[in-house]
Symmetry: C2
Subunit: 276 residues, 2 copies
């Protein structure tokens, strides 16, 4: 999916919501657990119910890998099921030396048809470039994450004055254009958002941490939105586990619709690219 297409979907649907499919067999509704294809069936119903309210789905690869070969198969099938109208993210946090990153890129962009994959920056440019070589595919690089552990290394102060995460965003935004590179910025770090937007004014940010992790949608949107939106805000547990009952998909849709209603308020009437 191109950036223009993504922006068009956001302004048409008046939503920049990404629904995170962190599907855990222990947390799906009781009535589904005896289903022969329970995880996929859960995902299918969540996707069907939430499509109108979101522009993206994010599959957390860990939850599928934990189920072994069968889990990988369900992940591939879920990715196939998500329609082309929605931006498909593999939240995989991969990254290795060049020849190995190239294999990861093939896994998510060729073997499966994801639009984007999340990548960890630690190993530097040559670990990230193989992902950036794919046309109309996206690399989403960890910037500042939503967890407490962000303080351990990401927030360390460098001799030059930047925090480590600032240097990551500053350097990497020269490696990939806003048409192919996004950054992960945790919603729990809202006080840093205005500063972070200055580091990469035109790149999209994928923002996890709204919902179960406590981030504030209004504050993020006010501090960090661009004229083209420039944000994908992810909610996982708050949406998909909104109810543990037979009405789980309907309840997930209600929560997603609630986010969409708020997002409609924060979004400009038109994108700058529509105006141009």
């Amino acid at each position: 999916m191109t950036r223009a297409e993504l922006v068009r979907h956001i302004f048409q649907r008046r939503s920049y919501l990404c629904v995170g499919l962190d599907t855990d067999p222990a947390k799906i509704p009781a009535h589904l657990r005896s289903h022969p294809d329970a995880i996929f069936e859960f995902n299918r119903q969540i996707i069907d119910a939430t499509l109108p309210y979101c522009v993206s789905y994010k599959i957390n690869t860990a939850f599928y890998e934990a189920l072994g070969v069968k889990g990988w198969e369900i992940m591939a099938r879920t990715a196939d099921y998500i329609p082309g109208s929605h931006f498909k993210i593999a939240d995989a946090k991969r990254g290795d030396i060049g020849n190995t990153s190239a294999q990861y890129a093939r896994a998510f962009f060729e073997s499966m048809n994801f639009d984007a994959v999340t990548v960890a920056p630690y190993m530097g440019a040559d670990s990230i470039r193989p992902f950036l070589e794919f046309t109309n595919k996206w690399t989403i690089l960890l910037g500042l994450t939503s967890n407490a552990g962000a303080a351990d290394f990401e927030m360390l102060k460098l001799a030059g004055g930047d925090h480590v995460y600032e240097q990551v965003i500053r350097k990497a935004s020269g490696w990939g254009s806003p048409e192919q590179l996004m950054f992960v910025i945790g919603a729990t770090k809202a006080e840093e958002f205005s500063n972070i937007r200055k580091l990469a004014p035109d790149h999209f940010y994928l923002v996890p941490g709204v919902g179960a992790q406590g981030g504030d949608l209004a504050e993020i949107s006010n501090r960090c939105m661009t004229s083209d939106c420039g944000l994908l805000v992810n909610a996982s547990r708050a949406v998909i586990y909104a109810s543990g009952g037979e009405d789980f998909a309907g309840q997930a849709a209600s929560v997603a619709a609630g986010y969409q209603k708020d997002m409609d308020i924060y979004l400009p009437a038109n994108s700058s690219s529509q105006l141009a």
Copy 2:
């Protein structure tokens, strides 16, 4: 596998070689390509031939993920095939928020029976702890990697004086004991090795980058070996692609035997734990 068992294998076999199974369908010998189970068959023959000369195998998950569901199945089967006498590493470079890292740990330690998994440090303590909670399982954290991109972030100087990678090793060596935590230190960084050994004097280091990437086994061993060895040195391409002919397994064994012969010279006669 416990540390004592690993050390015993090293001194009995007089080897601290890890063979990296970065198996690429495009690089396996021509005569195997029509085999209905070519990748597994290649791995099986490499393992059978190199067992006497190494103490560990490292499966590079990317190469299997690139093949889709079938690849994940071959990875699981290869891990099963490696005997309990050899330390099984999933070179996966995972790491995410706590509840997600816990799922990755389940994938590699429960769904598959790896002894160890490589983990990226960027997201800090709570992204690493879930791996450390498993008994007799190992977390191998990226310290200083072998690629050029190590200069981008790992080698940045912090305000406190350390390089980023030094701070990673210093902090993380307090999170996991030498019975459960190792660090990845690239062989191409041999000039840093004496200093790095001071940062974590008792932890094992997994050292990739010998062979195809050009690292020097003698220099690494001289600068960084402990009385219990404290090193696993990995070679991947140099061993498994030693020959593209029908003799590939025999040639792989020859290269592995060559490393073992050198390692026998660098290893002390007995480990300090045997003497104790």
